[in-house]
Symmetry: C2
Subunit: 137 residues, 2 copies
DNA sequence: CTACAACCTCTAGCGACTAGAGGTTCAAGC
DNA sequence: GCTTGAACCTCTAGTCGCTAGAGGTTGTAG
């Protein structure tokens, strides 16, 4: 029934030190221990860790995931908060994509304008010397 | 001719602590100092810092910028290395955009499928419980 | 000559892990 | 029952690119 941290790692694809880190920051509850102080996890922990993992894959911050976990523990309450968190995250993703697309365009332009000569004529290094872009946060 | 660190900050838009940080990590050379040990910068430093700033705006890592700076100091050499660094960076940007677009799609789908009921029925939290996505590095 | 903004160095913190040292425990084979 | 060694434990420190703060010194305007 109970599994070791290594087995939990295998079943979820989350690395052992990362699992311990999640416990440390309060995403995972402190599990029961053997007499020799080794961690033993049950099915609930596996589900919770899968939830966390998927949240991270979707780019949610640990704080968001903490909140989403708290929400899903209260099935009777309305889910508007989950919606709000997700919407906020999506907005951040949209903005990041727009920013990166701008970078992509400028980098492509720079590469296209470099004729492959010597450094003195290089348009790439020339471009870098003349600041015009936008901030990458 | 020589300016203080605050003036350099104003002229380039790079914050004072960031300028000191760039000196510490070797992007900027240690400048001359007044008798009272305050930094004084010349025109060359302003150009160099502009180069660094624009590189960062384009998302280059500090190590890449260090290399690009070294290259631009050797005008006689061919610029293939600058080309290579830029191409590699562009590839990373492309990949990041693709990843974020996938996240964008899934987040949008999740938001669309949430009917706004209570947590027990919430498709957002449901989606999070069933891992399928890809890793965000 | 005084006031005070701007400068100085040094240390620590952010987020989300990752790496390593140095020591202990579990489980399988004999 | 005993040995081996993989897996576990805690703790500290490092990653990246800054940013914030403490506590002290210098430059310059009035």
């Amino acid at each position: 029934m109970d599994v070791s941290i290594g087995e939990l790692s295998r079943q979820t694809g989350v690395k052992v030190p990362t699992i311990r880190y999640y416990e440390q920051v309060g995403l995972l509850p402190a599990p029961v221990r053997t007499e020799g102080k080794q961690r033993r996890y049950g099915p609930g922990d596996i589900m919770r860790l899968n939830f966390i993992k998927h949240g991270r894959e979707l780019g949610f911050e640990v704080n968001d995931i903490r909140e989403l976990l708290a929400l899903s523990a209260q099935p009777e309450r309305p889910c508007e908060n989950a919606d709000r968190i997700t919407r906020r995250h999506l907005t951040a993703v949209d903005q990041r994509i727009a920013q990166l697309a701008a970078l992509q365009a400028e980098l492509t332009r720079m590469l296209g304008s470099c004729s492959g000569g010597c450094v003195a004529d290089c348009q790439i290094l020339e471009s870098l010397s003349t600041p015009t872009g936008e901030k990458v946060p």
